[in-house]
Symmetry: C2
Subunit: 206 residues, 2 copies
Amino acid sequence: MNLEKNHPGKLFILSGPSGAGKGTICKALLDQTDLQLSVSMTTRAPREGEIHGKHYYFVSEEEFVANIENDGFLEHAQVYGRRYGTPKAPVIEKLEKGIDVILEIDIQGALKVKENYPDGVFIFILPPSMSVLRKRLTGRGTETPEAIEMRLGETLKELSFIEKYDYCVVNGELDEAVTRVKSIVVAEHSKVTFTAEELIRKYEEE
Amino acid sequence: MNLEKNHPGKLFILSGPSGAGKGTICKALLDQTDLQLSVSMTTRAPREGEIHGKHYYFVSEEEFVANIENDGFLEHAQVYGRRYGTPKAPVIEKLEKGIDVILEIDIQGALKVKENYPDGVFIFILPPSMSVLRKRLTGRGTETPEAIEMRLGETLKELSFIEKYDYCVVNGELDEAVTRVKSIVVAEHSKVTFTAEELIRKYEEE
């Protein structure tokens, strides 16, 4: 008997400031576990090699707006005139099948998801220190020192949302951070979420 | 920076019906992790090879009763005229040093511990099925078939306390059960138990 298998899947939200490494952790989890990625919907055009339903659901402005009106998003936002969102239906479908879903998202997005799906498991990925974060952002070579300092200031502000999260994982060593998230997944599936009556019925059956 | 290290240790209570295998899981955890065992206090005489402070704290009836009167137990009970209890002081001392403590105990004991230390992490160890439990109890060869059937009836009743526990771990494969408890330990140390202010202060310091 495996009690867990009778529970629906769980939605794990991996979130945190830019440069904390949530994307890298997410990729490692997809490689090493049965977790499935939540695919975003967008109105931007596909880039070369991007596959509809894998990288994004590419839709028209009309389709996107219709989905908003149908309350079809866990969260959605507009960036430089393009719309991005997390469609509810494919996530719920997987959860009902008992599949765990992972959603990698920034802090603003995660807070919206929490409003729509408070049963999600919210994990905040933290950089080991501000100086390490500064190094990582500088290493990307995509921003000026001034822009990086501004971003670091924003990061400190973003930390104030930590209390909305269930778990926090410091991403110093990638392997250790990944192992920690995997442990959270296992522990979440070991929580007592059934009644004594349900449990006794199961054991009496055998 | 390691946020976890600033938290005190945690008390993990491993409990469940007789034959579920909590003792075996506990031994494996002590071998494989830094968890330290909570040592019981008893008024029974030491058996050959038993060491005071390792296997038990061996004390006189007077000392035991004095400790009860000083509210010095997380739980205590009397079995065939001998007293057994979990002394508070050594557990709290370890937790304050940041050491995780494991306490292996029957269900009645665990419920008393919960009253005295609700911050403990309560883990219910379950046998995979009643038929497996019957086999395990029969395999011990220490009880008559009638006694075993009576014990199985008691087990079903004991399952009704599952809702008092935080986690449940089905002990089918020992290694898997041990890994699951280890994951619970890691996840518990990844919980957000600090305030945003505390977190921001830490990051600003560096």
